[in-house]
């Protein structure tokens, strides 16, 4: 979790220093979701994420330097600098992408799992999305699909209470994500998403069930976004007291307290924290030194047939 926190704090610094040029969506305060879910996936398992995907991507094993380069739009970024934060992806570690369109990855995840089934592979697919995503059609279509075809997908609703500036509760009918999943015959569990151990346990169990071929599973994880929606959002739409109160529930502090209580020396925790920051600062420095990709990359990887250049023949 410290690695995620450090990465995003540096990404925010990059934003202010105009090294990061597009929008970034920090997951500060939500790290227990990434840290609790993703380590339960093997490297060859597949993960799909959201616009708020740095943490998930790191936790799936992506290289922070390549990620920082991507956020800076530099050569050697995971996507060669062409995607940026909202399209961060590392197919080498089974991370099939953040997505700039809310809920779009839900149907893509269903299809990834469909391929797993067709190819008789043993992989599982995990798809993380926000609480705002459950009101889009693909949520219904993708969950229905996964259940109908009995596919190994773990759907994870990372519920931070907000969709941009809007409290999702006000725009969500009924009891919410789990009730919807259950109405589709999908076993669903609700967990405190800031309790990394609880998330870990629930994810482990659900993923084991997937591997046993029981069809899709659903986790609803309650958390809170401690920052603005984007790096530029002051989040003036919620009272300061609310945010302050939620800082007390910071998943990192909670985990640290647990570890301390379990006898972990405070020094070793500080060490972990310092190592995380050192790693991410190094990534930051190295990324800023990396050049932008060569301009001809703008015309590469478009498609095999047909030349993208307007003047081409």
């Amino acid at each position: 979790m410290w690695r995620i926190r450090a990465f995003e704090e540096l990404a925010l610094r990059g934003l202010h220093e105009k090294l990061v040029l597009g929008a970034i969506h920090p997951s500060i305060g939500q790290e227990a979701v990434a840290a609790g879910v993703c380590p339960n996936l093997d490297r060859h398992d597949v993960l799909l994420s959201t616009h708020r995907g740095h943490g998930h991507t790191l936790a799936k094993g992506a290289d922070p330097l390549a990620m920082m380069r991507e956020l800076f739009g530099r050569a050697g970024g995971n996507c060669g600098g062409k995607g940026g934060s909202m399209h961060i992806a590392d197919f080498g570690v089974g991370m099939l992408g953040a997505n700039g369109v809310v809920a779009a990855n839900i149907v893509i995840a269903a299809g990834a799992a469909h391929a797993v089934k067709l190819k008789r592979e043993s992989k599982v697919v995990c798809c993380i999305f926000g609480d705002g995503a459950i009101n889009r059609g693909p949520f219904l279509e993708g969950l229905n699909w996964a259940k109908v075809f009995g596919l190994p997908v773990l759907f994870v609703c990372e519920d931070n209470g907000f969709a941009a500036t809007t409290r999702t509760r006000a725009m969500t009918a009924g009891e919410g994500p789990s009730a919807r999943a259950r109405s589709l015959g999908i076993a669903a569990e609700e967990v405190d998403g800031n309790d990394v151990l609880a998330v870990d346990a629930a994810a482990r169990q659900a993923i084991a069930a997937l591997r046993d071929g029981g069809g899709p599973r659903f986790l609803h994880l309650h958390t809170y976004r401690l920052t603005g929606h984007t790096g530029a959002d002051p989040a003036a739409y919620r009272p300061k007291e609310e945010v302050e109160a939620r800082w007390k529930d910071d998943p990192i502090s909670r985990a640290a307290a647990l570890l301390e209580a379990a006898g972990h020396p405070t020094a070793s925790l500080a060490e972990a924290r310092n190592a995380a920051y050192a790693e991410m600062i190094a990534a930051y420095e190295a990324a800023r030194e990396t050049p932008f990709p060569p301009v001809d990359q703008a015309f590469a990887d478009v498609q095999d047939v047909g030349d993208p250049r307007a003047e081409a023949f």
Binding site: L21, G73, K82, V101, M171, F292, V302
Partner: protein
């Protein structure tokens, strides 16, 4: 005349029309806090949360509900945030809104305005940078508007709200902060379908729309220093588009250059070029010419993003080439 930004001009247009007609209302995600670009700021305070309504993240339902609400006598303004997200609601716009009046034999009308901000805007990458105005120009039943100035954004948005047909209203994200003089008059509107001659000239006609117009004007200024007088026409709307004005200009200049931010292949520039070539073949002193984006998604990295732009230099060089032919 007061000075205001393109975003402020749109707010003024909506406020005036909402005051004028109680049937007008707006709906979209985050509108209660002013919208993602602040283009609804202050409106919920004046008109309340029913008429400036938040919405779930349900683009298909936002658009579809607007169709139903429009058929029932209200005049919704639909906010899609980025035109890219409107791709989640294409059935509702193209199969329903655009066709309802016709396929029901004139029994109903669908007076709605869909705001779909377009264009490249500081490293927004492939899913937040598209300009698909050509798509909607191709769809019978839809009106397509692409304002380029604060005054036009007020006057055209007011006309769009008053229009009884579904209007795809495409503001350019890079223009939100652009300032300009904007008439205060409540009755000020800009008619849909009339191009604006931004600059007169007799040597060649440059046709453009949306943010690209401003690049064309800079190019025309540079051309003027080289003795070339370019007439710059801002189409303002792509359907209907002001064929008469464009043809009259090209008849005068004998040369046509079209500059668009959107992908060149099968873009609206092709329609303009083809129309002029069909009708003014003999009057043309040089071939018609288009400049547009390559057929590649938009990149995040700035130098790659820039590779998709039609720059002032490209316009100047191409225009010179045409005139020196």
């Amino acid at each position: 005349m007061p000075f205001m930004t393109y975003a402020e001009a749109s707010r003024a247009a909506i406020a005036e029309e909402m005051r004028r007609d109680p049937a007008v209302w707006a709906v979209g995600e985050d509108l209660g806090r002013g919208g993602v670009f602040g283009q609804y700021k202050g409106l919920v305070e004046e008109f309340g949360p029913e008429r400036v309504s938040d919405a779930p993240i349900s683009e298909a339902c936002i658009m579809g509900a607007a169709v139903g609400a429009a058929m029932m006598g209200t005049r919704p303004i639909v906010e899609m945030r980025f035109s890219d997200f409107a791709l989640c609601a294409v059935d509702e716009l193209v199969n329903q809104a655009a066709k309802a009046r016709y396929m029901f034999g004139g029994q109903t009308r669908v007076p709605l305005v869909v705001r779909e901000p377009i264009g490249m805007w500081r490293s927004s990458a492939a899913q937040h940078s598209q300009s698909l105005e050509a798509w909607y120009a191709h769809i019978p039943g839809l009106v397509v508007v692409c304002p380029s100035t604060p005054a036009d954004n007020k006057g055209l948005l007011k006309s769009a709200i008053r229009c009884d047909d579904p209007v795809v209203y495409m503001e350019h994200k890079n223009l939100w902060g652009l300032e300009g003089e904007v008439p205060e008059d409540d009755d000020f509107t800009v008619p849909i379908g009339e191009a604006r001659v931004v600059r007169e000239g007799g040597d060649l006609t440059i046709v453009s729309w949306s943010a690209q117009v401003h690049v064309c004007v800079k190019a025309a200024e540079a051309l003027a220093t080289r003795g070339i007088k370019a007439e710059v026409i801002d189409l303002r709307s792509l359907w209907p588009w002001d064929k008469a004005r464009v043809l009259a200009s090209v008849e005068k200049t004998g040369r046509l250059l079209i500059a668009q931010e959107s992908v060149s292949v099968a873009g609206f520039g092709a329609e303009v070029a083809a129309t002029v070539a069909e009708r003014l073949h003999k009057a043309l002193k040089a071939p018609v010419k288009r400049l547009g984006a390559p057929r590649a998604p938009i990149s995040y990295a700035p130098p790659l993003e820039d590779a998709a732009r039609v720059s002032k230099e490209m316009i100047v060089n191409t225009a010179e080439g045409l005139v020196r032919t």
